[in-house]
């Protein structure tokens, strides 16, 4: 920004300042209202520990599933020409813009006790996925996978296919090329995609509570715990909220080179 172009006009500065306040005030309030002295007690509560632990486990398992399934899908979208590729990408993106509660309803429709797949499975085995810890993981995968796929696809595209061509002339199969050239070169992008997916899972609420419920010990993760306790035990809700804020800031720091450097920064 050059001062020689004149002072920024007030009619632009005012809304810009307001926008900053809208984003900042709630976070400041959250930190200010947190029961800092009671935090050790809150974190010592077994119910809180369960929610915390379950959140970490489900988000991490979901992240690994997203990697195993999402990396090949991202590769397919980035490297292989086939009819319907645009349609496939659109399908991948839909959960990204879908309201999470709708995602939960969709998962119930598919895997609930009377769902499209869940119904026959329940009739045959008596088992149902909904309202189990696995359901939490599935909900996380459903909402996080698009982030992981799109992020990794971008990384694969930015490397370009030229190295693949070089590897092919050297006699490498596509699998060898994937393993020895594509993945190593895309590693920073893959890691960023995984962090992004993990962060999305940690914060997931709508789809999870709809599809998996809110049962302490099996399906109660941090966001659903916060939602449940905000009225009855605000200290616990605030403590975990601050914890999640810390996680968000941590993710931002991890990805700062990719986001703040390329998207927000001026060179």
């Amino acid at each position: 920004m050059s001062d020689t172009l004149g002072r920024p006009p007030a009619r632009l500065l005012l809304p810009a300042g307001l926008a900053t306040l809208v984003l900042l005030v709630p976070l400041v309030a959250l930190v200010a209202r947190s029961p800092w002295s009671r935090i050790p007690d809150v974190l010592g509560d077994p119910v809180v520990q369960d929610a915390l632990w379950l959140s970490l486990v489900t988000a991490t398992v979901a992240m690994l599933i997203c990697l195993v399934l999402g990396l090949p899908l991202a590769w397919l979208l980035a490297r292989v020409e086939f009819p319907g590729r645009r349609l496939l990408r659109a399908i991948v993106i839909v959960p990204l813009v879908l309201p999470p509660v709708v995602a939960g309803v969709a998962l119930v429709s598919a895997f609930g006790r009377t769902g499209l797949i869940g119904g026959p499975v329940h009739d045959a085995t008596g088992w149902t996925l909904a309202y189990t810890t696995s359901a939490v993981v599935l909900a996380h995968v459903f909402v996080s996978l698009p982030f992981v796929v799109i992020s990794i696809e971008g990384a694969l595209r930015s490397i370009g296919a030229a190295y693949d061509a070089a590897a092919a002339t050297l006699g490498a199969t596509r699998w060898t090329t994937f393993r020895r050239v594509t993945v190593p070169l895309a590693l920073p992008g893959i890691a960023a995609g995984m962090v992004l997916g993990w962060a999305r899972s940690i914060g997931e609420f709508g789809a999870t509570i709809t599809f998996a419920g809110n049962y302490p010990g099996t399906t109660q993760i941090m966001p659903s715990f916060i939602y449940q306790k905000l009225a009855s035990d605000p200290d616990a809700a605030l403590t975990l909220s601050v914890l999640l804020l810390g996680v968000s800031i941590g993710v931002l720091l991890l990805l700062r080179d990719r986001w703040l450097g390329t998207m927000g920064g001026t060179p």
Partner: protein, 325 residues
């Protein structure tokens, strides 16, 4: 093990190529003529129709990885995360050679190209000339039947390119397969190749030995590359050296046959002489070059925009029929 190919890429390429084992074919032509498309089609990186018979097999029927073709890319494309050794060993390993053996082979090739001591370095830690040596070693380590070099000297300093050219010429002479060398430098074609293939607008404009092409260039581009003027008159081509051109400010008397009026476009030092490029006006519009002494250039006041007359003695003109396509 003759290569016999007819390659077509719609809108970009339609050429026939033939080469005997042990020969180096220089592929020259202007930018965008289809030189890179030709080698990429042979390598399997651009889809082409036709055929490319080598050793009884048709390359076009094989996937890129099964063609046993070595490719040196213009931008090298060394794998940035692998050391020079691992880059060169990549080909043998991809074909199932054990790691230790592949790395020993890589070291041998790097040694042969004079960069054995750089084996542990990553491509980012190599100079342009060193990186190009690694990429040549990487292509040769796969023991290809056909070696494709896409402008291997591009982007290198003049001195580095000269040293590499001499070494490459020695390696290519020792190589018993067929080499296609894409270049925009006449020196590459004249020093390393036994055959020259001139590509223009996706087709073969001329082919022959370097001497034939240099003496009787069929296109203005090649004439420029070998430092000649060439003018087409009907089915006849007339070439002459820039040193044989006389520059005058007034219309000279004498034969009107080899006389052109034109405007000076550029004036630049060229060796001990001054090279003047003149765009002719009138019936034949072409850019002709004349090499004059610095004294003459000063005396005539040759600056861009000046109108001059160019003339050439008929005895200095080499006239020949347009070479068959």
């Amino acid at each position: 093990m003759t290569l016999e190919a007819v390659l077509r890429v719609p809108g970009r390429l339609d050429v026939a190529v033939r080469a005997e084992p042990g020969t180096v074919v220089a592929v020259i032509g202007p930018n965008g003529a289809g030189k890179s498309t030709l080698v990429k089609a042979l390598a399997g990186l651009v889809a082409a129709t036709g055929h490319a018979r080598l050793d009884g097999t048709d390359l076009l029927e094989l996937d890129a990885r099964d063609r046993r073709v070595g490719m040196v890319f213009q931008d090298r494309l060394l794998f940035p995360h692998l050391s020079a050794r691992a880059n060169v060993a990549f080909g043998p390993r991809a074909r199932g050679v054990r790691r230790s053996e592949a790395e020993a082979r890589a070291d041998t090739w790097l040694e042969r190209l004079g960069i054995g001591e750089l084996a542990g370095r990553k491509p980012g830690e190599l100079s342009g000339g060193q990186a190009q040596r690694v990429s040549i070693a990487r292509a040769l380590a796969t023991e290809p039947r056909l070696l494709l070099l896409d402008e291997p000297m591009a982007g290198l300093d003049v001195g580095v390119a000269t040293a590499l050219r001499i070494e490459l010429a020695a390696h290519l002479a020792a190589y018993d397969g067929i080499t296609l060398l894409v270049t925009h430098d006449a020196i590459d074609a004249l020093t390393m190749a036994q055959q020259v293939l001139v590509i223009d607008e996706g087709g073969v404009a001329q082919q022959g030995t370097p001497a034939e092409v240099a003496q009787r260039p069929a296109t203005e581009h090649v004439a420029r590359l070998v430092g000649l003027n060439v003018i087409r008159e009907g089915t006849e081509l007339r070439s002459f050296s820039p040193t044989a051109v006389t520059v005058d400010l007034q219309e000279p008397r004498g034969s009107a046959r080899n006389l052109w009026r034109g405007t000076v476009i550029s004036v630049n030092p060229h060796g001990a002489a001054v090279r003047v490029v003149v765009r002719t006006t009138g019936s034949v519009s072409a850019d002709l070059i004349a090499d004059v002494t610095p004294a003459a250039a000063t005396e005539l006041g040759l600056v861009p925009g000046r109108v001059v007359w160019l003339s050439v003695k008929e005895t200095s003109v080499n006239a020949y029929a347009v070479p068959g396509r």
